[in-house]
């Protein structure tokens, strides 16, 4: 089973866990309805749509409210630290959490205590914490955008905000940034980099790129990285190899974006509704 861990932008939202369903433009976990605008809710919604399309069980979610003060994240870190040694998941995704090094380290102990090690995927704040802790290689997949890749490539930066100027956020430099991230052990086993061209890479180098279709407006849109992470996580959980799942996810996310005919003002739910059609087409072409 796939489990997704993250936050929602509400200070008083309680810690909830349970199966995730999608109702129009909201996800539901138990009695809590959360609007899908971006962030972990968008990742969860994309995962639900992907699971429905391939007839896979619904993902499981751990959510808490946090508006950036870190209070909710600390509650969730603590809960996960206690819960994980007794849990059984095939795939685990960590997403919008306050990057707190000591909590990341405690969580790692709990992950090591699990009977069977899940496939570990990290994005957003949790990926920052993993890199800051020097533990990137512990994870199977990171899903950075170009700016976050530059951060992974800068061995001295504790946050993307401090990426040094000579490490440019330039699409043309992506292969160099990937090499540099691996050289300093600041990358996971695989990297899925989202940009004008999407890349799948490992320590061996770039394994695959996808650059079609191109929708310029998606760069401005919040949540397109979240949907990509949601799609690839579900495909991996269904049993696909990471290499195959990543390529299908890159193609699906781009195609869903294309179907949505986005402007820079478009919202992520517009793309999420197109995931089933896009994924079906990509899978059909693969056969």
């Amino acid at each position: 089973m796939l489990a997704i861990t993250g936050t929602v932008p509400s200070e008083d939202f309680p810690l909830v866990s349970g199966d995730i369903t999608l109702e129009d433009s909201h996800i539901r976990i138990r009695n809590e309805l959360i609007p899908v605008n971006r962030g972990t809710a968008a990742l969860m919604a994309a995962a639900v749509k992907t699971a429905e399309t391939i007839d896979h069980p619904a993902p499981f979610g751990y959510l808490v409210g946090d508006i950036g003060r870190g209070k909710g994240s600390r509650i969730l870190y603590k809960y996960m630290t206690e819960d994980l040694p007794h849990a059984s998941f095939q795939t685990l995704v960590f997403h919008y959490l306050q990057p707190i090094v000591h909590w990341h380290e405690r969580l790692q102990h709990s992950l090591r205590a699990m009977k069977e090690r899940p496939t570990l995927i990290a994005d957003a704040g949790f990926m920052y914490a993993a890199k800051m802790s020097g533990q990137s290689a512990f994870y199977d997949l990171f899903t950075p955008d170009i700016g976050e890749l530059a951060f992974l490539a800068d061995e001295k930066a504790p946050h993307p905000f401090y990426t040094r100027g000579f490490i440019l956020h330039d699409e043309n430099l992506v292969p160099d940034l990937i090499s540099r991230a691996y050289e300093h052990n600041n990358a996971s086993r695989f990297l899925l980099v989202k940009g004008r061209q999407d890349y799948l890479a490992s320590r061996q180098g770039i394994l695959k790129t996808v650059d079609n279709p191109v929708e310029e407006a998606l760069e401005a849109m919040g949540g397109t990285g979240d949907t990509l992470t949601g799609i690839v996580s579900t495909l991996i959980d269904s049993g696909m190899a990471i290499e195959d799942a990543a390529v299908i996810a890159m193609k699906t996310n781009r195609l869903a974006g294309h179907y949505a005919r986005p402007t820079p003002a478009a919202q992520i739910i517009d793309i999420i509704h197109h995931i089933p059609k896009a994924l079906s087409k990509v899978l059909e072409e693969k056969r």
């Binding site: 950036g68 990057p99 957003a124 920052y128 976050e148 504790p158 990426t163 956020h169 401005a220 919202q267």
Partner: protein, 185 residues
């Protein structure tokens, strides 16, 4: 384009000149929200302070510190105590502090304009000045900031400096200020 001007007070100095100099100190706060509040208060009084990254020995996560002239310590402390946000700790600068990313990227989509600062992007509809999207970033206040800002005009939207709490929020503030600058031209 550089945003180094955002970090300068009345006694402006070159950033690299200051790094590691014994006449500078850093104030450490409970969280980034307090750093942002303290910076606002100190800059309002025209102190020469800069928001910087902490040295490795005190990094704990998503943090910022305030670099300031040590000689002004008592005056600043008095002011911050009066405002209810005294720093947790004050230490002299003994090693170079991390510099925030100092480049903006501006992209023109025709009807829309996007500004990126570090890992944060802000997009505005040119005709109305309405914020239509916030993207990038990974700290939990990003979805919150997006929810509070999208749909509002630039001059009516809450600023990330007021409601943000993390480094991503701080980066969005820089994009927000650059967008205001771009749209005023």
């Amino acid at each position: 384009m550089s945003f180094s001007g955002f970090f300068k007070g009345k006694q402006t100095r070159n950033a690299s000149e200051d790094a590691g100099q014994a006449d500078r100190g850093i104030m450490v706060f409970e969280n980034t929200s307090e750093v942002i509040q303290a910076e606002r208060i100190l800059k309002k009084e025209e102190w020469a302070v800069r928001v910087m990254g902490p040295p490795p020995e005190i990094q704990s996560g998503c943090d910022l510190v305030i670099e300031f002239p040590l000689i002004e310590e008592l005056n600043m402390l008095r002011l911050l105590e009066k405002k209810g946000i005294p720093p947790l700790e004050i230490v002299p600068v003994t090693s170079p502090l991390l510099q925030p990313v100092d480049l903006f990227h501006v992209k023109d989509f025709g009807e829309y304009l996007m500004v990126r600062a570090a890992n944060m992007k802000l997009t505005v509809e040119k005709a109305t000045g309405t914020i239509v999207n916030v993207s990038g970033g990974g700290c939990p206040d990003v979805p919150y900031l997006a929810r509070e800002m999208v749909g509002h005009k630039l001059d009516e939207a809450p600023s990330p400096r007021e409601i943000g709490h993390t480094l991503c929020g701080y980066a969005l503030q820089l994009a927000f200020e650059e967008m205001q600058h771009q749209c005023s031209q």
